[in-house]
């Protein structure tokens, strides 16, 4: 898998977003960053199919990808290991995901207040100009006392200016 366009701050190697078991289950990865954007994706697998008639990946997989990417974009923007929670998420499916092609996401945290983060993002396959889905969401900042443990993968996400 290679992210389908150049990234300003690529990671040496894609990092597993394995700090959530569900993210690990579907194989979410981070590819890199650019300012307030984060680039993520997952490899196509037959087990992720939701519609056997057009062989497209389940919409829930796309929602999970965009939701966790949004969460990572908030943490990246705030540079703090805090607890966050999705308040609302809206997703439009422009076209079914094509089979045998990996899926990528570009997520932007475009605004934050003391309590709320605002996000938008798109999901695409080979052509970033032809998204398969686009979404917006709001997140609660400091939602509870459950800031996740800092593991090496999450640490990589926090570093501004590429890898050390």
């Amino acid at each position: 898998m290679a992210f389908p366009f150049d990234i300003k701050e690529p990671l040496d190697e894609a990092v597993d977003m394995g700090w959530t078991p569900f993210g690990r289950h579907i194989g979410l990865k981070v590819y890199g960053f650019s300012d307030d954007e984060i680039y993520t994706g997952l490899a196509w697998r037959e087990e992720l199919i939701g519609n056997p008639q057009n062989m497209s990946v389940h919409g829930g997989v796309i929602t999970a990808l965009i939701d966790q990417s949004f969460g990572a974009a908030v943490i990246r923007k705030l540079q703090e290991h805090i607890a966050i929670a999705t308040i609302e998420l809206r997703l439009d499916y422009m076209r079914p995901a094509k089979p045998y092609q990996d899926i990528y996401c570009r997520a932007t945290c475009y605004h934050t207040t003391r309590q709320i983060a605002f996000l938008r993002g798109s999901v695409f396959q080979d052509d970033p100009e032809k998204p398969i889905a686009s979404g917006v969401a709001t997140f609660m900042i400091n939602a509870n006392r459950s800031a996740p443990p800092i593991d090496a993968n999450r640490e990589a996400l926090m570093k501004r200016g590429g890898q050390s």
Binding site: P21, H25, G59, G60, A64, L89
Partner: protein, 142 residues
Amino acid sequence: MTRDDIKALLTTMPFVRDLGVDVLDIHKNGLICYMPFAEKLIGNVVLPAIHGGAISTFLESSSVATANWSASDFGLTDIALPVSVSLEYLRSAKPQDLYARTEVVKQGRRLVQVICHCYQDDPEKPVTIMHASFIMTKSQGA
């Protein structure tokens, strides 16, 4: 469509089968669906809580089943194609089984709109609400 028909439809979907989504009952305007808890569904290991994406997978599966159940009376037999979904996350979902009560808000000639309330112990305290719109089609010659 009977409950067995809906169950059969869900088992054709690999990722739905993987998560064990099932139909428990049919009511006047929709379905009661179920997803068993599993460790792989966790999104927050500290709380712990089920991943928003796992909940949305469950609710979208339940809504697709509902749309197909509703549209089957109109001869629209292809699997419902999602257009938009909108999720409100109201409470964190505990590491327990999930239930969904779905309701067809509108059955049109091409579009079906569904609301889904997802709950755990108490149907009056939903953890998530989903609104979803689906395009319904019928294959040529089907």
